[in-house]
C-alpha cells in the first residue's frame, strides 16, 4: 500500500512539474503550411539550375496563399520556419546559402507587409509575388556583395536575377491565385 501511495504521489508530483505546451489550431495550421513549403523547397533543390540562386521559389506559393488567407503574421511564420527547417534538412544551416535565403525571406516579408495593404480589387497575388521576388533578389545581391563577393562584379548578374524574379514571381503568383480560388470553392 505505501508503495502504491508513493507512486500516486509521484505521479501527482510529475503532473504538477510537467509543463504543458498547448497546441492551438493556429499552430497546427502553420505547421501544416510550413511542412508543405519545406517539401517544395527540398523538391526544388533537386532541380538543376544554370546559375546558383536562380530558382523557381515554389515554396513562396504556399507563403502567398497563407498571406492572403490567414494574414501576414502566419505567412511570416511559415516563411521563416521553412528557411530554418529546410536549411537544417539540407545541411545548409548557418552556411552562406542559409543567410542568403534568410535575407531574401526577410526582405520579401517586409515587401509583402506593404503590398498586402494595397486595395485587393486592383492588386492580387501576382503583384505580391512579383514585388516579393524582386525584394528577395535585391536582398540576396546586397548580402552577396557585402559579405560573399566583396566586389561590384556581382551586380553584373542583376539582369539575369531580375529576369528570373519577374518570370518566377509572375508564375508563382498565378499559381497562388488559382489555388486561392480553388480553396475558396
Amino acid at each position: 500500500m505505501p508503495l502504491f501511495a508513493f507512486l500516486i504521489i509521484g505521479e501527482r508530483y510529475f503532473q504538477t512539474m510537467s509543463v504543458e505546451l498547448t497546441v492551438t489550431s493556429d499552430d497546427r495550421r502553420i505547421a501544416r503550411f510550413a511542412a508543405a513549403a519545406i517539401v517544395l523547397t527540398i523538391a526544388e533543390a533537386a532541380i538543376p539550375s544554370p546559375l546558383p540562386g536562380v530558382k523557381p521559389g515554389l515554396a513562396n506559393i504556399v507563403v502567398l496563399v497563407v498571406l492572403l488567407r490567414h494574414g501576414w503574421a502566419d505567412a511570416a511564420w511559415v516563411s521563416l520556419l521553412r528557411v530554418f527547417a529546410a536549411s537544417l534538412l539540407m545541411g545548409q544551416f548557418l552556411a552562406p546559402g542559409f543567410f542568403l535565403s534568410l535575407a531574401g525571406a526577410l526582405a520579401s516579408l517586409a515587401t509583402l507587409a506593404a503590398t498586402v495593404r494595397l486595395p485587393s480589387r486592383w492588386f492580387g497575388p501576382v503583384t505580391h509575388s512579383v514585388a516579393a521576388a524582386f525584394a528577395h533578389m535585391a536582398a540576396q545581391l546586397v548580402v552577396a556583395r557585402l559579405w560573399l563577393v566583396p566586389h561590384d562584379g556581382v551586380f553584373l548578374l542583376t539582369p539575369i536575377f531580375a529576369t528570373a524574379a519577374l518570370c518566377f514571381g509572375a508564375i508563382n503568383g498565378l499559381i497562388a491565385a488559382k489555388l486561392l480560388v480553388e480553396l475558396d470553392q
Binding site: L118, P119, R121, W122, F123, G124, P125, V126, T127, V130, A131, F134, H151, G153, F155, L156, T158, P159, A162, T163, A165, L166, G169, A170, G173, L174, A177, K178, V181
Partner: protein, 128 residues
C-alpha cells in the same frame, strides 16, 4: 488559347501595372550593367608610355623587351592576352584572355601593361 483563358482572369488590373514595372526594371538593368560594349583596341605600355596599339580584328604577336626580359603579347579577334612574361608570379599571364573594354593585365616586374579599350570607355579599369 485555352490556357490563356484559364489563367488571365487571375490577373487583376493593377497586376498588369506591376508586371510592366517589373519588366521595365529587368529590361533597364541590362544596358545599365552590361554597358562597356565591345573591346576594339589593345594598348601595350612600358613604363607608362604607349609602345603600340593594335586593332582587335586580326591575330598577331608582339614582343616587348623590359628590364628583366621579354613579354609576349598575343592579339586575337576580339581579345588579347599576355602569352609569356619573365615575371616570378605570372599574374598577368594567368589572367588569360582579356575581352572587356578597360580590362588590364599588368606585368609589374617587367614594367609592361596590356589594356583593352572600347568606344564607350565608362570605366578607368576593370579587374576580376
Amino acid at each position: 488559347m485555352r490556357a490563356l483563358r484559364e489563367w488571365l482572369p487571375h490577373l487583376r488590373p493593377g497586376d498588369w501595372g506591376t508586371l510592366a514595372l517589373g519588366l521595365a526594371l529587368a529590361a533597364s538593368s541590362f544596358p545599365l550593367l552590361w554597358r562597356g560594349g565591345v573591346a576594339d583596341r589593345a594598348v601595350v605600355k612600358r613604363d607608362g608610355a604607349i609602345l603600340a596599339e593594335f586593332a582587335l580584328n586580326a591575330s598577331r604577336r608582339f614582343e616587348v623587351e623590359g628590364p628583366i626580359g621579354r613579354t609576349v603579347i598575343e592579339i586575337a579577334p576580339g581579345r588579347a592576352r599576355v602569352a609569356a612574361d619573365p615575371g616570378l608570379h605570372q599574374y598577368c599571364v594567368k589572367q588569360g584572355w582579356l575581352t572587356r573594354p578597360n580590362s588590364i593585365a599588368i606585368c609589374a616586374p617587367n614594367h609592361v601593361s596590356l589594356q583593352l579599350t572600347g568606344k564607350d570607355s565608362s570605366f578607368d579599369s576593370l579587374n576580376y
